[in-house]
Point group: C2
Chain length 173, copies 2
Amino acid sequence: MAERGTRPRPEPDDIETTGSPADGEVWLGMLGDFIGFHLRLAQEASYQAFFQRIARDEGLEGLNIKPGHLTFMALIAENPGITQTALSRGCGRDKSSLTPMVEDFVRRGYVKKRRLLNDRRSYALTLTPAGEELSRTLSAHARAHDDELDRIVGIDAKPELIRLLRRIKMSLG
Amino acid sequence: MAERGTRPRPEPDDIETTGSPADGEVWLGMLGDFIGFHLRLAQEASYQAFFQRIARDEGLEGLNIKPGHLTFMALIAENPGITQTALSRGCGRDKSSLTPMVEDFVRRGYVKKRRLLNDRRSYALTLTPAGEELSRTLSAHARAHDDELDRIVGIDAKPELIRLLRRIKMSLG
DNA sequence: GCAAGATAGTTTGACTCCCTACTGTTGGGA
DNA sequence: TCCCAACAGTAGGGAGTCAAACTATCTTGC
């Protein structure tokens, strides 16, 4: 019974006089000490920067390529014949999220989906030549993006950063 | 002949024999060296762990509280009278994403929304006593979650990790 | 063999998010 | 005074995600 009509808002409440409080900067409080909080902001910033970088490539115009597609393509390239479930684990996404993406990329001719004879539940995914080409393009962008991250982080700090991030994933995942 | 019922899918392509390829472990290739890739996996793992932690709290049963709500509540608590736009910046989300959440929390009696007299475009958000209580609960969970992250990362490495994450956000955002 | 449970992939539904366009308000010039 | 650009917040649409239920297939134990 979600009354979601045209005017369901519970009234903007009352009117009251208040000087603009903390309008310029936001005080984080304890959030500023939380690894999880900064993880999210950094990941979001990285995602957006990579997204913008891809969007700038005229060769990818209209293909609607997103950062998530890099992982998708790169993992198929590195693991020819990978199954969708294994791919979903590698991508860190639910397997049901991959279904539309696989279907889309098969239709566009980047990915080939072959049924296995010895286990007819599974499909083996491989890249077509066009898919290899697209994968190379995305990988080049990814490398450029990560070079930028390397500069920001500093090349000495990078191994330690990756070690810590992997540790978080391993310990919690 | 196995008439496989209705088949709206664009044909699973062809059948081919292939031994199970890399089904156990997935080879990451160059992805394994990318900061952005590990950032996403670590962030997702942290999100899921925090989500599970909240879900375990019987006091929050049925409230449908998610990790994002912590940031939302904590920032209002730390910045009483904050506007929705400032809050959206702090949360790292588009302001239009906050509209349903604000509406929801106002209706549930956790947040108070007052119109400003000196600028009738804005609303000042504050927590109700119930909101303060909820915020304290969420903050306690967040602290426990981040204590776990501290243990994983190691307390010596934490300042450096946060410094690097902030640097990424600042440089790219 | 054959039933029971596991597994691969798909479907569906709910949810969250962003983006774009829109309304109402403010404030600064012609 | 009157415009009009800038701003706060909302509405609507579309994309992407997960979780649960479902189908088809494989495996195991009897």
